[in-house]
């Protein structure tokens, strides 16, 4: 077997140092994806830096009205958090739509953002995959790809990001906080994941050794009507065929603020910027929603077997937008 080292870090700085000190290190949080990939031989870390004991397990309301979620907050705890349920319902719903109860109890906020694609070719060492082994080719392209991308893919890679949580974060204008050699920085959640381009091996904008320390949900989307909806092959415990997260503010029948992100359509949560722009200042009607979403999905390039994703994503988005726009019942 391939032996690996194990280091338990007590602080963020200690974790970053341990990572820098060991070639081939990986951060270990809930391990729900990393350990599976190690068993498959897809991930072969030399050292695991365990970050589960870092003091990052709190959810904190900041003075400016935003909410900071520590990187090691468990998915189930975050979904159940009263402030999240109250102010960011789309996030709570997205978390609960993911995986199973047992997995959500183990999985963390930071780990969820760093989970790898579930593309079967990525997971099978006997087949080519540019993400796993750059330059080896893409097995899914001519193989079986009903679940793969329709937006933003490249010649090299048609994989999708599997996270539900990340879709809600993207729609809610969250930021991902990072700590690394260069100190602390943050990036918008919608830009944290990359499109594959010529480097499908890179899932995110994270720099080598950088650690996710938390996620900040801004005051600007707090309390907005928001929702997450996911379509899947079975009623629970299945990855999305398509999903959507929407945060919407309607004033006097007009769209005043909109955040829309799609899941399972691309290599990253797909922030529907075109659709949002088209909606702003316009009427909050189903027709307007449909036109805006169509505008966004016009650039979709379905593969041989996944054309259904375009109307599915459209239906999901129009449905959620329409429900959120409906005047609140008293």
């Amino acid at each position: 077997m391939k032996p690996f080292g194990y280091v338990r870090a007590g602080s963020v700085e200690e974790a970053a140092e341990a990572f820098a000190a060991h070639r081939g290190a990986r951060y270990l949080a809930g391990g729900t994806n990393l350990v599976d990939l190690m068993k498959l031989g897809v991930e072969r870390p030399a050292v695991l830096v365990d970050v589960t004991r870092l003091p990052l397990d709190g959810v904190e309301e900041l003075p400016d009205g935003s909410l900071r979620v520590g990187a090691t907050v468990r998915n189930s705890d975050l979904a159940a958090h009263p402030v999240v349920r109250d102010r960011y319902p789309a996030l709570s719903q997205a978390l609960l739509a993911g995986a199973s109860g047992q997995l959500r109890n183990a999985a963390t906020t930071g780990g969820n953002l760093l989970q790898r694609t579930r593309c079967p070719y990525f997971q099978d060492l006997s087949k080519p995959c540019n993400k796993r082994e750059p330059g080896s080719g893409c097995g899914a392209r001519e193989g079986v790809h009903r679940d793969h991308a329709v937006l933003g893919y490249s010649e090299q890679c048609i994989a999708t990001n599997p996270s539900d949580m990340a879709v809600a974060l993207a729609a809610l204008d969250a930021r991902v906080e990072l700590y690394g050699e260069g100190g602390a920085r943050s990036v918008p959640a919608a830009e944290f994941h990359r499109l594959p381009g010529d480097h499908p091996e890179r899932d995110t904008e994270i720099r080598p050794g950088e650690l996710i320390t938390g996620v900040v949900l801004p005051a600007a989307t707090a309390g907005l009507p928001s929702a997450y909806r996911k379509a899947r092959d079975r009623a629970s415990f299945a990855f999305a065929l398509a999903s959507v997260a929407v945060a919407l503010r309607v004033a006097d029948g007009t769209v005043a603020q909109a955040g829309i992100a799609f899941g399972a359509l691309a290599h990253r949560p797909w922030r529907a910027v075109r659709a949002e722009r088209a909606l702003l200042g316009g009427p909050a009607t189903p027709d307007a929603f449909a036109r805006a979403v169509d505008l966004e999905l016009a650039e979709a390039r379905p593969l041989r077997d996944n054309a259904y994703k375009v109307p599915l994503a459209r239906n999901l988005a129009v449905d959620v937008l329409t429900r959120l726009a409906a005047p609140a019942r008293t």
Binding site: G41, A231, N315
Partner: protein
Amino acid sequence: MATTGTALGAPAERREGRLKVTGGARYAAEHSLPGRAHAWPVPAAVVRGRVTAVDTSAAKSTPGVLAVLTHENAPRLAEPEDPTLAVLQNPDVPHRGWFVALVVAESLEAARAAAAAVRVEYAAQDHDVTLTADHAQAYEPETVNGGYPARREHGHPESAFGSAAVRVDVAYRVPPLHNHPMEPHTSTAHWGRDHLTVYTSSQGGTAVRGTLAEMFGLPEERITVVAEHVGGGFGSKGTPRPDVVLAVMASRETGRPVTVALPRRLLPAVVGHRAPTLHRIRLGADPEGRLISLSHEVTTHTSRVKEFVEQAAVPARIMYAAPHSLTTHQVVALDVPTPSWMRAPGEAPGMYALESAMDELAGALGMDPVELRVRNEPEREPDTGKPFSSRHLVDCLREGARRFDWSRRDPRPRSRAEGSLLVGTGVAAATYPVLVWPSTAQARALPDGTFVVRLNATDIGTGARTVLAQIAADALGVPLDRVRTEVGDSDLPSAPLAGGSSGTASWGWAVHEACARLAARLADHAGPPPGKGLSARADTAGQADAESSYSRHAFGAHFAEVCVDTVTGEVRVRRLLGVFAAGRILNARTARSQFVGGMTMGLGMALTEGSTLDPVFGDFVESDLALYHVPAHADVRRIEAHWIDEADAHLNPMGSKGIGEIGIVGTAAAIGNAVHHAIGVRLRELPLTPDKVLSALAG
């Protein structure tokens, strides 16, 4: 105190239930014998070809590795009856995933790492894994699974269909399906000085012992096969699989006990699957709905290793009266893994197609689908003309309709909407043959007033231990708690496998006979039994396998209510109700569990389960339970299984029919028919996943 005479039929709890939920029940991998080693197979990475070179140097130098077996150094075994067991015997690769090497090591982790380090070179050939209805290599086999003739024809089905007033001519497709039992195929073998002991996850240890004796040249009395607890099989453990051959081989080569627990990802290629079936069904009826012509033509695949033909057109031979009929099977040998049994082979896919077509015919006739089936109820078995030993399909349909409130249904498709949901209901019939095999059993009365029943039956989670004790208590006329059952060990009196819904009938018959003989001996014996007790044996050979002059089948009816989400194309089953006529029900609790389990698996077949052959790489893409979607709890909302009391004197002493498989038969058709009723569009390819349903909704 328990009373006598009520054991049979009572909802007795599973005797090993407590052991199982507390972790005390030991499965095949959990026999950690001293010095036990672990083995990990290496699957072929080409679809068709030959191994030209194997470099095992890196694997051998992995710390903890004890041996690396390949076709070059593995012991030559006697040719098995089942060619899928001839592992590491030659360099040929008949399909992707076929085992080309086995690493044996001190730990599972070392074996896995070393297996990844084995370098195999191949000479690959072009391959074909794609089944089509008009495949050039399709042929009609002599027989299909179960020994049935591939073709049966009565009258002039073609011309009768052509002149029928109302006609349905439709095609359906059922994809490959996988059994995926919770416990993967696993064996722990210990080749001792004089004796081979094997703990294996199998539906029948007797056949495992026989196969190992033949392949390894050992007399059967020097082999013990233990299958005490089995975490599901659904047909895929009906006969030995490569894991047991590899474990024995590895133990012999290393002199150590060896466990082979097949990793989930390797299962789809080596332990069988339900072959895909392409169906063409033509139904011709008169305006009153009486069938004039029925034809069911099936095309399926097999591997190049052996011929296995899913007998999907066979149930059409017994279901409905039609003066003209045709049932045929065509098979194509492709470069695919070898198909095998999966819960109700033949009936499950065949009845999906037939019962969907019957629903289409009811639609074409403007007739209620329950009444259409009642109208075509045959007096005798249509194919052989034999009388039925008992047939209560109509009673099942009527009782199910009553419980389901079917009479209030608006038959018009797409007539019921709830917001963005479309709601529909559907019905389908079920059938499964009565199978029974000879068995032996021993019953012993002990001086303390208790009894032991011994035979090599296998309890694959069905409650066999429990129901056999009930049969014994009933035959002995003693309370259930005074009877103990010993099963799952080939040193016990020999017994057939748990398969074909035949286990309880076959074993129970022998248990009943042995206990009846013991009761007679006890009646002649004054006072308590002597020190070693009194015993009696039975062997039902010649009885159980005697040709019956009756056509013997269980029947049932499924009713389903579904809602289809027009936003997503997601189908959810709100209610599933089955009514079965399966002879005498011997244990109300475990029987319900069997029916509900079968229906749940049918729900999976309808909505979520399916394996896809990758046209490029030649293997099944769904290689884990994240991609192969068995139903989750949330998919199964309201599910009910009922039965009618059915007395049948032509079966076995208990009057029972098998119940392990009929629950899955027809379920998918009932759900598919309900989906059609909900959305007004007929989908003819399973599973009914959102991609397909959404396309149908879009028209």
